[in-house]
Amino acid sequence: MPLLQVEDLHVAYGAIRAIQGISFHIEAGEIVTLIGANGAGKSTTLRTVSGLLRPMQGDVLYQGRSITRTSPERIVKMGISQVPEGRLIFSSLTVLENLEMGAYTRKDKNEIRDTMKQVFTSFPRLEERRTQLGGTLSGGEQQMLAMGRGLMSRPRLLLLDEPSMGLAPILVDEIFEIIKTINAQGTSILLVEQNAAMALSVADRAYVLETGRTVLEGDAKELLHNPEVREAYLG
């Protein structure tokens, strides 16, 4: 049974249909990436999985159970955590408080502390800045904070929405190294990226989206060398 299975998903914003039939799945332990141009429906898919949007049609199954009608709070508790596009950190809270917000659905203080230690091991920069306000961090640090905050709920599946957005190339490399490390520690990852080359190089499998539909899927390394993909997304 796959960890997450999305079947024939249709999502609309009012009259505008953003997604018209997307299907994909993630096995436990995988990094799966959705690539595609602006407006292909990548972020909409993520938001539907995390419960922020409701589909018109289709189903999202998590560990075999449908979560299309589950509230975002319960979905976080079930083990899916989203790192939203544009990072959206809480700028007037300190780094420490931001991380504590990530553990909002958890109660055991000692366990939360342990998770925080792990997050600090993955992101030493956050530990150095732990009493600083979130808004005073640099873009790369904010991305790290957003990811660390997402990990604080101890997810089985981490949804990453454009983690490389607006970052200097050297930071992008660093972020993707961290993504690999997080995955190696046992968290499955669904990665949405415009930087297709980078995403394909870390992912196990990939799906190519175009105007709300899945047009291509396969092994990430193979897609990296697929002439069509190279032409359209890798330049």
């Binding site: 995390s50 922020l52 009608r69 509230s71 975002p72 709070e73 979905i75 976080v76 508790k77 955590s81 989203q82 790192v83 939203p84 959206l88 950190i89 809480f90 700028s91 007037s92 809270l93 420490l96 408080e97 504590e100 917000m101 990530g102 909002y104 659905t105 502390r113 342990d114 925080m116 230690k117 792990q118 600090f120 091991t121 030493p124 530990e127 150095e128 800045r129 732990r130 009493t131 600083q132 905050r149 997402g150 709920s153």
Partner: protein, 443 residues
Amino acid sequence: MRKLSLPSWIPTLIVGLIVFFGVLYARDNGHISAYRYQIFQIAVIASISALGLNLIYGFNGQFSLGHIGFYAIGAYSSALITKDYQMAWSGSRAGALAWMMAGQFGIIAGLALIRMLRLDRLRRKITQSTSSYLKEHETRMVCLLPVLFIVAAVIGLGVVATLGAHALLDPGLNALVEGLSDNVARNVIFVLAILNGGTMAALVAYLVGLPLLRLGSDYFGIATLGFAIMVFTGLQNSDMVIDTMRGARGMVAIPTWTTWGWVMATFALLVFLMRNLLRSSHGRAMISVREDEIAAQSMGVDVNQLKTMAFTVGGLFAGVGGALYAHLYGFLHPSTFNIIRGFDPLIIIVLGGLGSMTGTILAGVGVVVLIEELRVILPQGFEDWRFVIYPIILLLVMLLRSEGLMGTREWGWFRTPVPPERDIPLSTRQPATPATAASSEDV
């Protein structure tokens, strides 16, 4: 590191006690007139109400113009109770109290029942079972019928619960009032009246907030303004329902029981509650809703629930403030609660700093005392100029310090406790230490 490790509550408590005993001492020894003594009470009452609005707008980010409405509800509902104790306008001395408590019980019981019935689940079941042969709008019509029926039944049950609670409470409370010595009974009634003023306002805030908080922030502001106007109009015509409220003529003969001691005790209790609420995980979640709703939602925060919670607690503060105000002059008039006065708490919190309890308290006391002192300072015949000078001061403050006096900073006990070093989990890696010391210095 810190040189002095005095717990932060000690200086705060000392300042509070100095202010409390200072005003008492000054009054007893004739340093301040009875008039100024009243002004100080108004100032603290204004701070209480403004703190409630700061919770809603400053900390939770929901722009509300309806705060004065909750203040009015607290004032009038508590006044009805204490006036009843003195004049038995309802027929018995605790009649109004019993009805009000029973009514609140009935409403809460009804709300709890609706919650337990899970109407959304019922609707989903109907939708699922009829979706194959009905269109979407037809399904909605089909859902409406059982929902309306259930709501009607729940209202009926709520009325029954109210009557039942009243039948139990009325003799009990009346016996209590008659049985206790006059002095004790008076204080008990006063405490219950203040509490009731707060809970009535909180309950109305909850009911108003449920539908309105779904609106976006600006729309919510306008909708709450509408609420404040409704309350104002209702009060002007209140004599049609309860004669003793006297509508536009103003409610008279309310016992003047509010004293500096009552005001400060209530203030201390509420400040204590609010500070601890804000420093709890709920409080942090409220702030996160202000910062970014989508991010808060993806952290697993139930955004609607927290907005409702902030709005309800904010309403409670306004209600308690109103209750204290009602018993200060012993006279209530709808014009005190018109929408222009409704901007007072908003001015106070913006001036003090949105998201700062310290700022609200300072600005609340400052604004009230300033307006009244200007009356004394200005030469005879120029008293009305205080509403020229006061706005100029407001303009200057906003131009020079647009984030308000305190911004989001707090003083003393109100500050977020920085966790002691041992509580910050340090990873086991070694090299972090020198960099840590460097970065904590430039904070």
